[in-house]
């Protein structure tokens, strides 16, 4: 299920502080899982921090989201910079849907010219990826019939 969160960056926060807010959001979300740990998520975000701070400082996250995929969670996290950051409203609550997650991946964007830096930072970490995530499902119900037409037909016939 696609969700989006927007985090206020400069001038409201420094790049480091912004990355910390994103880290907390990811960790709080993962902590909702009964089989994943907050510490694990914090460690993954810590590994990605050098690249993450660069993505924030360069304004790249304003346009290219970091994507957290964890069970039913598919959350695009972007930043907002400039004067709008001063008044932006944020939802920093854990993203719902991670309770049944057994694994997760943090997908980082690789815009030019920081592509190599980001790729290097996340290389070899199980939880981090620079591969684009598979598209979010529009709905768990889409494409599946919600009505039993035979039952409906029987009801019409009985009338």
């Amino acid at each position: 299920m696609l969700r989006r969160r927007t985090i206020a960056a400069s001038p409201r926060r420094s790049a480091s502080a912004t990355w910390q807010v994103i880290t907390d959001l990811v960790a709080d979300t993962i902590a909702k899982s009964s089989s994943l740990s907050r510490a694990d998520a914090e460690q993954a975000m810590s590994v990605a921090a050098p690249a993450g701070r660069m993505l924030v400082a360069g304004g790249h996250l304003d346009r290219h989201p970091l994507v957290l995929v964890a069970g039913a969670v598919y959350c695009e996290i972007t930043t907002i910079s400039g004067s709008e950051a001063l008044t932006a409203e944020e939802n920093l609550n854990p993203v719902p849907g991670a309770a049944d997650a057994t694994t997760y991946t943090i997908h980082l964007p690789t815009p030019d010219p920081v592509q190599a830096v980001v790729a290097s930072a996340v290389a070899g970490h199980d939880r981090l990826s620079i591969a684009p995530p598979a598209p979010a499902q529009a709905s768990s119900a889409s494409g599946r019939p919600l009505i039993d037409t035979e039952a409906l037909r029987e009801a019409v016939t009985r009338r």
């Binding site: 409203e89 939802n91 119900a141 889409s142 599946r144 019939p145 919600l146 009505i147 039993d148 039952a151």
Partner: protein, 303 residues
Amino acid sequence: MKVQECVVADELVREDRAAVGIWDAIVVPDEVKERIRNHTLLSLRVRPELPFVATALHGLCTLYGPPGTGKTTLARGLPAQIARYVPGRAVRRVEINPHGLMSAEHGQSQQRVTELLAEHVPTLAVDGVPTVVVLDEVEGMVVARSAASLAANPADVHRATDAVLTALDQNAERHPHLYFVATSNFTSGLDEAFLSRSDAAILVPLPNAAALHAIMRSTLLVLAARYPGLRDLADAPGLATIARRAEGLDGRRARKVVFDALARRLDTVLDPGRLTEDDLAAAVGSSFDQVVPNAGETADAAA
């Protein structure tokens, strides 16, 4: 109050006798119940198969009318009416208390509405089971912006209305298994864009004389199971006359009239089976001193 606490009910409903009984207890014209049920079935049937741009169906039905006519009960009873027509024979019922969403903090109402309707509710229904979401007294969260004064209504309330509309638009496209049923006593106070998004706005009218007769009779019959002396009164021809005098009362009030009649004499408190037509008639007469009837919205036909 946390957003999650605004969800006052989240349960899977099957077509059992108790669940169906809720719906059956409300006496309104059959066509009202059929419209509510059929709109829901149509929405669940069509929306997963056709693009939103083609149908413009939001999966939203608004029930409006005077207080005490059974709107909320009908909304709560809807899942049991739908259950027999869905795979799995179960429909989720989620009920929202909109009043808990409004916050005194600037910007918080909008954020809480978005979090609840666009995030939390879809998460509750992430298994894809058809889900009826009851928004009771929706005027608490969807204020008519054209009529609302910024002086009297904080900007936050206006933005909360925006957030509801945005969430409905999102859910319409992404979650065809969600069906929202809003209830309101005040359609004039509802935002025009919200009403425009309603696939159906259905009037739940005040009961006419025949419906009032049915309501009072059913109340007496329920009591008669415990106090058999009331059975004759339930079937008495004079009850129809009393019901005609009761026109203007809502259904809830009509049920209470029976108990008001019982409370008028100490011996009927002791033995409810001794209730008479005169007691009922007197209670009906005095009930108009207690309520201001909402004229002009009576039913044309009895259920």
